[in-house]
Structures are given as structure tokens and as C-alpha cells.
């Protein structure tokens, strides 16, 4: 029997994979992929919980998360484009003019 725990553990694992991506990616575009993964992991958790409660709220939350993820992509890409226009790279290490 697949229980909620299974789904949650899966979500946790996916979330951790996302963290791996977020931590190790130097290419900003690919880093954004990883943030998408994190949100998707949460979506699994939400819909699973929703199912086990028989409650729709979780699905709605997941729905909003999808919306949020989409908006983030738009803004993120916009930022990347303008950065790329200026610097010709989307490498994360190029963003180091401010520190200390």
C-alpha cells in the first residue's frame, strides 16, 4: 500500500535533488531549473496530502504554486536576458561585483 509517507519521502528526495541543483549549478538558467524542481516536489506533497485528507485545498495550493513557478520563470528569464545583454554570459560567477 502506498501511503502518504511514500509521497512525502518522494517529495523530500526531489526537494533535496533540487537543493543539489541549486547549490552546484553555476549556470543561472540551469539553476532556475532546479528551483522549478523544488516547487514541483512540493506540489507532489500537496496533492498527496490533499488526497489523503480528501480535501481540495491542497490541490489548490499546488495550482497556485504552479502559477507562481510560471511567473518566476518569466521574471527570472527577463533578468537573465538583460544580464546576458550586458555581460554576454549567464555564469553565476560573473555576479561578483558586490561583496563584503
Amino acid at each position: 500500500m502506498i501511503t502518504l509517507t511514500h509521497y512525502l519521502v518522494l517529495a523530500a528526495i526531489l526537494f533535496s535533488i533540487a537543493l543539489v541543483g541549486i547549490l552546484r549549478r553555476k549556470n543561472l538558467l540551469m539553476l532556475f531549473f532546479a528551483t522549478e524542481i523544488a516547487l514541483n516536489a512540493v506540489n507532489i506533497a500537496f496533492s498527496a496530502i490533499s488526497k489523503y485528507y480528501g480535501d481540495l485545498t491542497g490541490q489548490l495550493f499546488a495550482f497556485f504554486i504552479v502559477a507562481i513557478a510560471a511567473s518566476e520563470v518569466a521574471v527570472g528569464l527577463g533578468l537573465l536576458i538583460i544580464w546576458y545583454k550586458r555581460r554576454g554570459t549567464i555564469d553565476l560567477d560573473s555576479l561578483q561585483s558586490m561583496n563584503g
Binding site: 502518504l4 512525502l8 517529495a11 526537494f15 533540487a18 541549486i22 543561472l28 539553476l31 532556475f32 528551483t35 523544488a38 516547487l39 516536489a41 512540493v42 506533497a45 500537496f46 496530502i49 485528507y53 480535501d55 485545498t57 491542497g58 489548490l60 495550493f61 497556485f64 504554486i65 502559477a67 507562481i68 511567473s71 518566476e72 521574471v75 527570472g76 527577463g78 533578468l79 537573465l80 538583460i82 544580464w83 550586458r86 555581460r87 555576479l95 561585483s97 558586490m98 561583496n99 563584503g100
Partner: protein, 494 residues
């Protein structure tokens, strides 16, 4: 499936009006832009102010402790207060667009539209106890904010925006995960309900409850720039324009505080001491770390960034303490902080140059203010007063906030915390003093008044005047302010 009956009254649309006005304002600006291009920024500023004024009126007209729209909207005292703070702060900050120099963002009408959307986002965020709406509101505001930062249109502002955005995306992940856990625990996304259910099951399984709290602390910690989630703050402040940096130091944080209050207060008051202890730790680390790093900054704006981290830590203590006194202290502090920081950042904004004549990286290095008192005694004095206020020197405004929050700490038995706060205030005095030392005790590098006055305009000066007046004379209206805040906070049960 049964049809759903909805009466307009039960929706209580009034709770929604303020945000609708702000959104409407944003849309109006977009429409005006469509109709006629290249209008002067002053028009947009005034439109924005007008809509914000309407917004403020709508907020003030709200009844406290009402819910609306299927209980999604929730206007309790803290929502009411924080909305007022958000709107007033926005009204005070938006005239900073009227500089005598031209900056990229203000030439774009979209800036003002996004600004109003952002205000609406923050209002949604505070005026609800539904995690979904909070999340959506938060993201609306944040996405707008990232864009506003980038619109300053120079490499540093892009860098700032990207950093802020990326970290924000991670924090959004944290928030989502935390919400999922809370939902899993309680089957609800409404905070009051979550609190009920958790209390009902006596916070078991404890680990999961705490895990959810941990995620939430991480997510809000990012918004409130708690150490170690603070790393974006100085870079973003440095990259953004001084006006926007000042805005960021005030408005998003008050929204964050309100959410944090809603989320953590019930945990703190339950016998789950974990949250309290962790917040205690976080508060101490945040205050201290930020203060220490601020000591070695070379740029005033960056210093103020660390300073605002430290102040946020200080105020976070109020949430940790959790008494009515502490929570009203939080609002009092933040109102006072609003005016002082507004003043300080406006002073920076006034002295902004397009070319980096003082330092090849910084806009506002300390050296820039050398001997300011001899060239512009009034400006130097006012800036010094803002610095002293931030350092907590009485009788300037922030002293009263510190007094009140430290008093709240003492009254709840957190003597050690109060002492740590005191020590931190003493440490922080150093970096504020450093600016005073530069302004008052060094000889000026350039003796040309114009060099300093470059970006000043009447509206900027007015804003400085307002905040200076408020900072100096705060003692006169602390009492009514405090009475009102306490009353409002108490009726909403915090």
C-alpha cells in the same frame, strides 16, 4: 454538487477595497501610458500618491477584526496597522522619484504600475491568514520588487536583482514546503485553523511540527533577512537605488513581520519552546552578526543595509517575546524606523551622483561625507540626527522603540536578551558614529556645495524635512501612537 449561495454582504468587499484601489492605480497608469507616451514622471508620481491616498483612506475605513471573501481576507489589528504602515511608507517613498537628476526607472511608467502592484501584494500578504493568499501576495510583491530593482538599469542593480530573485526562489521553495507540512499536519492552510488543530493534537508528531516551523523560519528569515538567510541584503541595497533600498528596508519587512507574527505567535505561546528558543538564537545571531560586519563597511548604504538587518533582528525579538507589549513595540519601532530610515536613505539619495567620483565601486562611501558640516551644516546635522536615532540615542525616535521593546523583554523576564540588545546597540553606535565622525570631524575633500546637492529637489527635501521632524519630535507623539497601537494589537489578540 450544490449551488453555492453567496451574499454580497458576507463577502465583505470592503476588506478588499484597499488592494483593489492600488491595483486599479497600477492599471490606470498602464492605460495612461498606452494612451499617451512619454509623460513626465511627476504625473505618475502624483497619480501613484493619489491612489495610495485612496488606498489609505480605504484601509482606515476598515473595521478591525473582520473577515471577508470566504474568510480569506482577514483584517485584524495587525493587518490594519501594517497596511497603514505599508501605504504610508509607500506614499513617502514614491516622491523620491522626483529627483533633479534622471534615473532610468522613473522614466518608465511601468515602474509606477509595478510599484502599486507591489503595494497591493504586500497588503494581500498582511491582510490574510490563509497561507495561499499570503504566498501569492508575497510572490506578487517580490516579483515586482525584483523588477523595480533591476529597472535602475546598471550592472549592479541587475546583479542585485538576480541575486535577490534566485535566493527568493529558494525561499519560496522553503515556504511552499513548510506550508505543505502544515497542511499535512492539519489539513488546513488557514493559520487560525492550523493553530487549533495543532493544539488539539497537542503538537504531535513534534518533529514534523518543528520541521514545518523550521521551513517557515527559513522562508520568513529570508524575507526578514535573518542570519544566515540575510546574505542578499547588503548586495541588493548596494545595487538598488538608495530610494528603493530605503523602501526595502521598511515595507517588505513589516509584511514579513506580520506573517511571522501570525505564524509563530501561537507556537511561541504553546508549550513548544523550540520555536521560541530558535528565534531567540536567531535574534541574537542576527543582531550581533550584522552589527559586527557593519563595523567594517566602507559604504554608507551598505552599512545601512547591515544596520537594517540588525534592526530587523532587534524587532524579531519582539515576536519572540510575544506579549502584547512586545508586539505593539514592534509596530511602534517600525513606524519610528520607517521615518528615520526614510530620512537616512533620502539623504543618501539626495547626495547621489551619476558618476562614481568618490569611489570606483560605491555610490556613498564614507569619504564622500567628509567635512560635510562645513559645507552644509544643516544637512550634516540632520544626517547626524538620523544616525543617532538609529543608534538609539535619546530622545530621537528609535530610542523610544528600543526602550519599549527592551522594556517588553525585561517585563517578560528576558533580562539577558535585553542586555544583549543593549550591548548590540552599543556596538552599532560605532558605525553610525563613523559617519558622524566623517561628517563632523574631517576636513571636506571638495568644498563645492553643488557637488553634494546634485540630486536634491524640493520633494526630496520635503521628505527629509518630514522625517527629520518626526525623528526629532517623536517624543511628542509617542504616547498617542503607542496607545493606539497597543489598543489595536490587543484587540487582535496578539
Amino acid at each position: 454538487m450544490e449551488p453555492i449561495k453567496v451574499s454580497l454582504e458576507s463577502l465583505n468587499l470592503a476588506t478588499l477595497f484597499p488592494m483593489l484601489i492600488a491595483v486599479g492605480g497600477g492599471l490606470t497608469i498602464l492605460i495612461i501610458d498606452l494612451i499617451k507616451e512619454s509623460l513626465h514622471k511627476s504625473l505618475y508620481v502624483m497619480i501613484a500618491i493619489l491612489f495610495l491616498a485612496l488606498d489609505l483612506g480605504a484601509v482606515i475605513g476598515l473595521d478591525i477584526n473582520t473577515r471577508g471573501f470566504f474568510d480569506v481576507m482577514f483584517v485584524d489589528g495587525i493587518a490594519y496597522l501594517s497596511q497603514i504602515i505599508v501605504v504610508v511608507a509607500s506614499m513617502l517613498f514614491i516622491p523620491l522619484a522626483l529627483t533633479s537628476k534622471r534615473f532610468h526607472e522613473f522614466s518608465l511608467p511601468e515602474f509606477f504600475a509595478l510599484f502599486l502592484f507591489m503595494v497591493a501584494g504586500f497588503q494581500f500578504m498582511v491582510a490574510s491568514d490563509n497561507l495561499i493568499l499570503i504566498f501569492v501576495g508575497l510572490e506578487t510583491a517580490s516579483l515586482a520588487l525584483y523588477t523595480l530593482i533591476a529597472l535602475h538599469n546598471r550592472e549592479k542593480s541587475f546583479e542585485a536583482a538576480i541575486k535577490y530573485f534566485t535566493m527568493g526562489a529558494l525561499a519560496a521553495g522553503f515556504f511552499a514546503f513548510g506550508s505543505a507540512l502544515l497542511y499535512g499536519l492539519t489539513g488546513s492552510v488557514e493559520i487560525y485553523k492550523i493553530a487549533e488543530v495543532l493544539a488539539d493534537r497537542s503538537y504531535e508528531p513534534m518533529w514534523v511540527v518543528l520541521l514545518a516551523a523550521a521551513f517557515m523560519i527559513a522562508a520568513l528569515g529570508f524575507k526578514l533577512s535573518m542570519v544566515p538567510f540575510h546574505t542578499w541584503t547588503p548586495d541588493v541595497y548596494e545595487g538598488a537605488s538608495a530610494a528603493l533600498a530605503g523602501y526595502m528596508s521598511v515595507v517588505p519587512k513589516i509584511a514579513g513581520f506580520v506573517v511571522a507574527m501570525r505564524l509563530f505567535e501561537f507556537l511561541i505561546h504553546s508549550d513548544v519552546t523550540w520555536v521560541r528558543d530558535i528565534l531567540y538564537l536567531a535574534v541574537v545571531v542576527t543582531m550581533t552578526f550584522a552589527n559586527i560586519v557593519a563595523l567594517v563597511q566602507k559604504d554608507v548604504k551598505r552599512m545601512l543595509a547591515y544596520s537594517s538587518i540588525s534592526h530587523a533582528g532587534f524587532v524579531m525579538a519582539a515576536i519572540m517575546i510575544g506579549t502584547t507589549q512586545a508586539n505593539s513595540g514592534l509596530f511602534l519601532y517600525w513606524i519610528l524606523f520607517l521615518f528615520t530610515n526614510l530620512g537616512a536613505f533620502t539623504m543618501l539619495w539626495i547626495s547621489r551622483h551619476k558618476s562614481q567620483i568618490w569611489h570606483d565601486r560605491f555610490d556613498h562611501p564614507y569619504e564622500k561625507f567628509s567635512g560635510l558640516v562645513q559645507i552644509m551644516p544643516m544637512a550634516a546635522t540632520i544626517m547626524a540626527i538620523f544616525m543617532l536615532s538609529l543608534a538609539g540615542v535619546p530622545p530621537f525616535s528609535l530610542f523610544w522603540g528600543k526602550l519599549y521593546i527592551m522594556g517588553a523583554a525585561v517585563n517578560s523576564g528576558y533580562i539577558v536578551l535585553a542586555i544583549i540588545m543593549a550591548i548590540n546597540s552599543a556596538i552599532s553606535a560605532y558605525y553610525y558614529l563613523k559617519l558622524i565622525v566623517y561628517m563632523f570631524m574631517r576636513e571636506p575633500i571638495s568644498d563645492k556645495q553643488v557637488v553634494y546637492f546634485k540630486n536634491a529637489s524640493l520633494s526630496l527635501k520635503t521628505i527629509v524635512g518630514i522625517s527629520a521632524t518626526f525623528t526629532i519630535l517623536s517624543v511628542l507623539f509617542i504616547s498617542p501612537l503607542l496607545n493606539y497601537i497597543t489598543e489595536v494589537v490587543r484587540v487582535s489578540g496578539f
